[in-house]
């Protein structure tokens, strides 16, 4: 058969393939949130509606501002955590980084100009994350173990820096965590901006796609020329960065930096990611889902406090809600 004939035959084949074209809805399909996010948004709306009707203080401006402020720490930590989880890792050290950077910023601000004090604290957070990343990437250690060790180490360093709580002297320092723009706390705006940057990172940069690819099939992306170690370090460093921002904001909001603060924060962050559809084995997870997870957790905390539910029962309910969210997600995965 001549060349011409061959290509004629094969053109028929590709013509067939093109003829059986799938829906042209591909574009908007990508823009619509996944079922998980829709379910979470639905749940959040339902909670808000019920709470608004049954509780007079819920829908007040004061409570809403408060709610946003409460979500900041979990939100920032969940954002960093998501980047690590996408690679198939986990970062248990973020709570300790919150304490370390919080107390450092509160301490440094008495001797350094405010921006510099904050910058130093953030650099320290990035360094903490980088240490985690290097251990995980370069020495191929299990992320769980590495960050378990660094969780203790960073907590220890926090107490080395100061055994007692530090009350920051600069009044400007307190602005960051307590001031609002209209009803919206500055801290919440910072958090939302960081989520937006996170979305760009994950969906619009080669680094973000690489993080997902590493979690999905590390060997395949390595063979495609992706620098796996460098990207792993990046993910942990960014987690450290987010934790540092959270630490500074928390110290500023509370007005006092406690060395014991942040214990268990990593668990809320992980929970938010998982509720939002991230897979702990990596390669799966979205910014929108994580944000929805953060909002849902925040709403639950806020409401249970408003209704004066005992804090132990709060924990029980939160645990149940996480379990339900994961079950919903399992159903979704089986349908696709």
């Amino acid at each position: 058969m001549t060349e011409q004939q061959t290509s004629a035959v094969l053109d028929t084949a590709s013509g067939e393939a093109a003829g059986a074209t799938a829906p042209a809805s591909a574009r908007w399909r990508a823009a619509v949130p996944s079922p998980t996010v829709l379910v979470l948004i639905g749940a959040a709306v339902a909670i808000v509606a019920v709470a608004g009707v049954t509780n007079d203080s819920f829908l007040t401006e004061g409570n809403m501002t408060n709610l946003l402020r409460q979500m900041v720490s979990t939100g920032l930590l969940a954002l960093g955590m998501l980047l690590v989880i996408l690679t198939g890792g986990i970062d248990l050290s973020v709570g300790s980084v919150v304490a370390l950077t919080g107390i450092m910023s509160a301490g440094l601000v008495s001797g350094l100009p405010l921006p510099l004090a904050i910058l130093v604290a953030i650099v320290v957070g990035v360094l903490c994350g980088t240490v985690n990343g290097v251990m995980v990437a370069r020495f191929s250690l299990a992320p769980f173990v590495v960050t378990l060790a660094s969780m203790t180490t960073f907590r220890g360093l926090t107490y080395v820096y100061s055994k007692t709580p530090i009350t920051p002297t600069s009044p400007d320092f307190l602005t960051l965590g307590s001031q609002n723009v209209g009803p919206i706390p500055i801290a919440a705006i910072i958090t939302l901006v960081m989520f937006a940057l996170g979305w760009v990172l994950i969906n619009r940069t080669s680094a973000g796609r690489a993080l997902l690819g590493i979690g999905g099939n590390r060997e395949a992306v390595r063979l495609a020329g992706v620098k796996v170690q460098r990207h792993l370090v990046l993910a942990y460093a960014l987690s450290g960065l987010c934790a540092a921002v959270a630490g500074v904001i928390l110290a500023s909001r509370v007005g006092i930096a406690q060395p014991s603060v942040g214990q268990g924060f990593e668990l809320d962050a992980i929970a938010a990611c998982v509720i939002g559809g991230a897979s702990l084995s990596g390669g799966r997870g979205t910014i929108g889902g994580t944000l929805a997870g953060v909002v849902l957790l925040g709403l639950i905390d806020n409401l249970l406090s408003l209704y004066d539910v005992q804090s132990y029962w709060q924990q029980v309910l939160k645990g149940l809600i996480i379990a339900v969210a994961i079950l919903v997600r399992r159903g979704e995965r089986q349908n696709t």
């Binding site: 058969m1 060349e3 004939q5 061959t6 290509s7 035959v9 094969l10 028929t12 084949a13 590709s14 067939e16 393939a17 093109a18 059986a20 074209t21 799938a22 829906p23 591909a26 399909r29 990508a30 760009v200 619009r204 940069t205 080669s206 680094a207 796609r209 690489a210 997902l212 690819g213 999905g216 099939n217 060997e219 395949a220 992306v221 390595r222 063979l223 495609a224 020329g225 992706v226 620098k227 390669g283 799966r284 696709t336």
Partner: protein, 494 residues
């Protein structure tokens, strides 16, 4: 026993992959299912194994409607499936794998001698008495692992045995032994479904052949009254008159030179050249070091000694990224393990090797990325043509096209293909051969690694033969025979 499928439909996401399939399997008969990649064979098997639920249609067992709620239901009925992808636990022994979950016990403890004896008897029955039940499954060759899978399926007397592409890893006498086993099972009244696109086997072993195409049954034929050509035409919906393009070797200037490349314990002192516009085959038995040579050339593994020259200059690829930057691409042997991120979509998988190139300051040029992906979908005929589809949902042949697309986008000057047509149907293979041929016209040098003798001679200009980690022969593809190449590879050449 008689098992019927009536009007079976199955959708994944929004795409229907089975459009009302009718099929009848009977005890004591071998039914072959032939179809191109993406025809729906794998889905059909999963339906029969109870691994995926039906969206519509029914299954009748001896005339009675049957609902399979999960794989346990199918297994409880004696339906056994041996999938193409192996499911053994590599760290466990053959015995533990075969009797997984059903180890014999004595006074509450596992009775190991009874267990080993049981498995030894099973292996003997299937004609592979030479497999030691005590070794770890992971230490066996892939072909042996496949036989262990079959032994596992037979551990409980089956009523139906489904074999999915068993010959993808079995060859020669191993395959003969498998056929003997199939005939014995048939005499015992077991219904056998043999899924393959290797038609010579299908013609040899089956009592009837059902051809499916695009999720529909096209025809059911009797081997005695049909021909391979007819089946191929039915599978493809067209006639394939020539599988391999005519090649007139016109090697240009040397592009890649490998000199004395060695990796301790794997291969030793390998030297060869690839010239622009040339297709060089590399043949060798499993374990001869073929793939390992490719990985070292590509920078995926480190050689112990030796050099790789590109355009006459010695280069040192420390990472695959270096090799890609220099215009070398490697399509690896195992697309699921090292080629694709299954959970991610066609767009991502197609662009992993070129993301950095289409980014500015780290930001992806998404419009350009979409255009590149669309271009590849059209050029390679990836089906369904949906960039946002997770590659997990694509058929084997289309997954392979996605891997090829990824590497074509890097615009390679040297393209190394390791078993690019394994588990790929005839129509797609022809597409791949034609694509390779076209690339050589643009001056690309191709190294085609294959364990398919016909392919390695048909699609190439010359062939390098490896044995035991050494390059033992080089022959012109037109001046040699399959026997000669095989003889070199096993070391009995005159």
């Amino acid at each position: 026993m008689k098992l019927e499928l009536r009007g079976v439909r199955k959708r994944y996401g929004g795409v229907e992959v089975l459009h009302g399939v009718d099929l009848t399997a009977e005890g004591g008969r071998v039914l072959a299912i032939a179809g191109a990649n993406g025809a729906g064979k794998s889905t059909l098997i999963k339906v029969l194994a109870g691994a995926v639920p039906l969206d519509d249609g029914e299954i009748l067992l001896d005339g009675e409607p049957l609902t399979l709620r999960g794989p346990e239901d199918a297994q409880g009925l004696g339906f056994r499936t041996v999938y193409q992808e192996l499911s053994l636990v590599p760290q466990m022994t053959v015995t533990e794998n075969v009797l997984l979950g059903a180890l014999p016990t004595k006074r509450g403890l596992v009775d190991w001698s009874a267990a080993h004896a049981r498995v030894r008897a099973l292996l003997e029955e299937i004609g592979f008495a030479d497999i030691d039940p005590r070794v770890r499954a992971g230490r066996l060759s892939v072909a042996r692992q496949q036989m262990v899978e079959i032994a596992k399926a037979l551990a409980v007397e089956p009523r139906m045995l489904v074999l999915d592409e068993p010959s993808a890893v079995l060859a020669g006498t191993d395959l003969d032994r498998l056929f003997d086993l199939i005939r014995r099972l048939r005499e015992r009244g077991v219904a056998i479904l043999y899924v393959s696109h290797r038609l010579a086997e299908v013609m040899e072993i089956s009592d009837s052949i059902t051809v499916i195409k695009d999720g529909r049954v096209v025809d059911t034929l009797t081997p005695a009254r049909t021909s391979e050509d007819e089946i191929i035409a039915l599978m493809a919906g067209r006639r394939l008159e020539q599988i391999y393009p005519d090649r007139v070797p016109e090697p240009g200037k040397p592009l890649l030179s490998v000199r004395g490349l060695s990796r301790d314990g794997v291969f030793d002192d390998v030297s060869f050249d690839l010239a622009a516009g040339e297709i060089v085959g590399m043949f060798g038995l499993v374990g001869s070091g073929r793939s390992e040579v490719a990985r070292c050339v590509f920078g995926a593994d480190r050689p112990t000694s030796g050099t790789v020259e590109l355009d006459g200059a010695v280069t040192r690829f420390r990472t695959p990224g270096d090799a890609i930057g220099a215009g070398v691409a490697l399509v690896t042997e195992d697309r699921k393990h090292s080629g694709l991120v299954l959970g991610m979509d066609v767009t991502d998988n197609t662009t992993f090797a070129t993301m950095a190139r289409i980014s500015r300051a780290g930001l992806l040029d998404t419009r350009r990325r979409a255009a590149n992906v669309q271009d590849m979908i059209e050029r390679l005929g990836i089906h369904p043509p949906r960039p946002e589809m997770p590659v997990r949902h694509l058929s084997g042949g289309n997954q392979q096209k996605v891997v090829l697309a990824k590497w074509l986008l890097t615009r390679p000057r040297v393209l190394i293909l390791d078993e690019p047509t394994r588990g790929v149907d005839m129509a797609t293979r022809v597409d791949i051969y034609r694509m390779i041929d076209e690339l050589t016209r643009e001056g690309v040098a191709i190294l085609l690694i294959s364990s398919d003798l016909t392919e390695v001679l048909g699609a190439t200009d010359r062939v390098l033969v490896m044995r035991g980690g050494r390059l033992v022969a080089e022959v012109g593809s037109a001046d040699t025979t399959e026997d000669e190449v095989l003889a070199h590879s096993v070391g009995v050449a005159a």
